[in-house]
């Protein structure tokens, strides 16, 4: 039996804070008294979320309007966040765009946009965040939302999948770098299955594979504290994706996924 340790509240930068999953996760952390810098495009929406988190117990919540697909000023933005809420120990990357595979194959500009949003910019934010969480030591953590789509290239969504898979490799690499000496921070790629959010509003839902933002939020909050660099949520996706990864290509080719 272990004694529960009282956690000191986190200082969190949330990239893509208006996403339904980000918001649900922040509510869990707000109840623990966390401080937040909330980044996203729409200032009014971020303000609404900041007010909510403050009323739920957040020590501080500031909204920072920023188009995250442009990461050229990532270092300066994160430094400003640290001035607002104090030394950052937690960075969560939630933003992303699902896009349309067929459209992206037909229009390379659209493919470039999907890769820029989901991979290139996210990777740069993660690299810019690394020195901050290293300062925080073992408390420090970078978490990025990847996807089960990144586990094997599939004809239905391999551009999005490649970007999310690449982001998972960045996180895995950071975890390896941080793990080189004891007492370092952590990096986590969160591989989400189907979650009922506006991003998937067009998809027909129902059945046991679908999770809710409030359902995956505690899993994400737990992944900030402990566990390996690859976290599947809900947990059963680890096994679903294992099966998908080991299926021989000859058989895989005949499956419409």
């Amino acid at each position: 039996m272990t004694t529960p340790v009282a956690l000191s509240p986190r200082r969190v930068v949330v990239l893509g804070a208006a996403s339904a999953i980000a918001e649900a996760t922040c509510r869990v952390l707000a109840a623990q008294g966390a401080s937040f810098a909330l980044l996203g495009r729409d200032a009014a929406r971020l303000d609404a979320i900041a007010a909510d988190l403050s009323a739920r117990g957040a020590a501080k919540a500031v909204a920072v309007a920023k188009d995250l697909a442009d990461a050229r000023d990532a270092e300066a933005v994160l430094a400003a966040c640290a001035r607002d809420i104090g030394p950052i120990d937690t960075v969560m990357i939630f933003y992303g765009v699902l896009g349309d595979q067929a459209q992206a194959e037909a229009d390379l500009a659209e493919a470039a946009r999907l890769l820029q949003v989901n991979f290139t910019s996210a990777a740069l934010w993660a690299l810019a965040a690394a020195p901050h969480v290293e300062q925080a030591g073992a408390r420090g953590v970078i978490l990025a939302v990847s996807s089960v789509a990144g586990d094997r290239g599939r004809r239905s969504n391999f551009i999005y999948g490649a970007a999310k898979g690449g982001l998972a490799l960045i996180m895995q690499g950071l975890a390896h770098k941080f793990g080189a000496k004891p007492g370092g921070p952590r990096a986590v790629a969160l591989k989400l299955g189907f979650v009922d959010t506006p991003m998937t509003a067009h998809v027909k839902k129902g059945g046991p594979l679908w999770a809710t933002p409030a359902g995956v939020a505690p899993v994400i909050a737990r992944a900030l504290e402990r566990g390996g660099p690859m976290v599947y949520a809900p947990w059963f996706w680890r096994f679903v994706m294992l099966a998908i990864r080991v299926t021989p290509q000859a058989i895989f080719n005949r499956v419409n996924l």
Binding site: A20, A51, A55
Partner: protein
């Protein structure tokens, strides 16, 4: 914002199965665009929440609904003043989870926590502490209402506020609500369970409980006729003076499948009532329980409405004024016992005299009786019409949130402010109930 294709919609009683074009905004700025999309498509709109209205007041068949459940953010909480403002889609259960650990609670809660703030206002819900707290609407301080011509902020004293409290969502889309919250000494309830043998005993216990117990309610065995009429169990409670501030958790046992239609029949109903009565009598006495078991016993059985089978059920809740209450309730119980129909959970409660600002608010000083009846078509309709006669004769009225069938004349007779209310209905809003009652 594009209006989606029609999808299935049903209410809690599951008698009416409708189809609606459902918008589910994540942020308040989307509501105005949703309304515009409905207008462009030439259909009316109704704000909806967690779908716990039993009949047709929460349905807008073949037209648009704006599902508020993602608009569930707190806007501000001032513990010194005891004032909470939140978006209308926040459920009372979720708000209780935020308030309880800080030593606060909602001023009153209905028998389920799966009710949105907007739904609590639109139906002016009541709870076990009606005598002390009045209705939910009596504790509302301000409302942000999106009308088809813009947003208005309304407060007690405004006519539009009075129309919106209990206004069934017809005066506009409720975007946010500000309420006064109550300090509690703990999240536990000191609860007493007292069996009683007839209606006179019920009224005696109710009168005697007023001074000392904030929360009162009774269950009656509506399968009993003759001398045992009005036999039941009285439950009363007060917040315990200590015991900590643990909120409730969201664990519940789901009812995974719909019960077959023969599962509920006069025989099983009688057996259930006898067994429930015996179990409650065994519990007689005092216990310290968590608020969730005291306020929301049925919530631990998620989806209990499916127990009534594929044809669904009707809920019937009336209130009778003091003067006619005892005899009226007795007559209704006799009529129900004779029919062999009647419910698992017949609930009897007294209302206090704290007035609600709502024009169409259901509670009035007197006695309320709530029952559910499995849907057996014409036979059920006949029984409910007979009960209507008793309620009208007694000068009482029915609760629209529970209703799916009352004749327009019955509604009009119970709600004298109806014509005045109608002048505040936003032309862009409607519901199945409203079309039925004003047809």
């Amino acid at each position: 914002m594009i209006l989606p294709a029609p999808g299935p919609a049903e209410s809690w009683g599951r008698v009416v199965r409708a189809s609606s074009r459902r918008l589910a905004p994540q942020f308040r700025d989307e509501v105005a665009r949703g309304l515009a999309a409905a207008r462009d498509a030439g259909v009316s709109t109704l704000g909806v929440g967690l779908g716990r209205s039993y009949g047709d007041s929460g349905l807008n068949s073949d037209q648009a609904v704006i599902d508020a459940r993602h608009l569930d953010r707190l806007i501000s909480f001032d513990p010194d003043a005891g004032v909470l403002r939140a978006e209308a889609g926040a459920s009372l259960g979720a708000l209780a989870q935020v308030l309880a650990p800080r030593g606060f609670f909602l001023p009153t809660v209905p028998g389920t926590r799966f009710v949105t703030l907007g739904g609590a206002v639109a139906n002016d819900v009541h709870g076990k502490n009606h005598e002390r707290a009045g209705t939910f609407g009596a504790n509302v301080r301000r409302i942000g209402l999106r009308r088809s011509d813009g947003v208005v902020e309304i407060a007690p004293g405004d006519d539009l506020f009075a129309a919106t409290i209990g206004g069934l969502g017809l005066t506009g889309f409720i975007e946010w609500v500000e309420i006064g919250v109550t300090r509690i000494p703990s999240t536990l309830i000191d609860q007493e369970t007292i069996p009683f043998d007839d209606l006179d005993a019920f009224f005696a216990i109710a009168a005697e409980s007023k001074a000392r117990f904030e929360h009162t309610v009774a269950w009656v065995d509506c399968t009993q006729g003759g001398k045992s009429i009005g036999r039941g169990v009285f439950t009363r409670g007060v917040w315990a003076p200590d015991g900590g501030f643990a909120p409730h958790t969201d664990r519940a046992l789901p009812v995974p499948i719909e019960a077959p239609s023969f599962a509920l029949n006069p025989l099983t109903l009688k057996a259930f009532n006898v067994a429930y009565d015996a179990a409650q009598r065994l519990k007689a006495g005092t216990a310290r329980v968590h608020y969730t078991g005291h306020f929301w016993p049925l919530d631990s059985l998620f989806g209990w409405n499916k127990l009534y089978g594929p044809k669904g059920f009707y809920q019937y809740q009336c209130v009778l004024p003091w003067a006619t209450g005892r005899d009226g309730v007795a007559e209704m119980l006799r009529r129900i016992a004779r029919s062999g129909e009647g419910s698992f959970l017949a609930v009897l409660k007294t209302f206090g005299d704290r007035p609600s600002p709502g024009m169409l608010s259901f509670p009035m000083p007197g006695t309320t009786l709530a029952l559910d009846f499995r849907n057996r078509g014409a036979a059920t309709m006949k029984l409910l019409a007979a009960l209507d006669d008793i309620v009208r004769e007694a000068g009482g009225r029915l609760y629209p949130a529970k209703d799916g069938r009352m004749p327009a004349a019955m509604f009009r007779a119970g709600y004298p402010a109806l014509d005045r209310f109608a002048t505040f209905v936003d032309p862009a809003f409607s519901s199945d109930f409203w079309r039925r009652i004003t047809a």
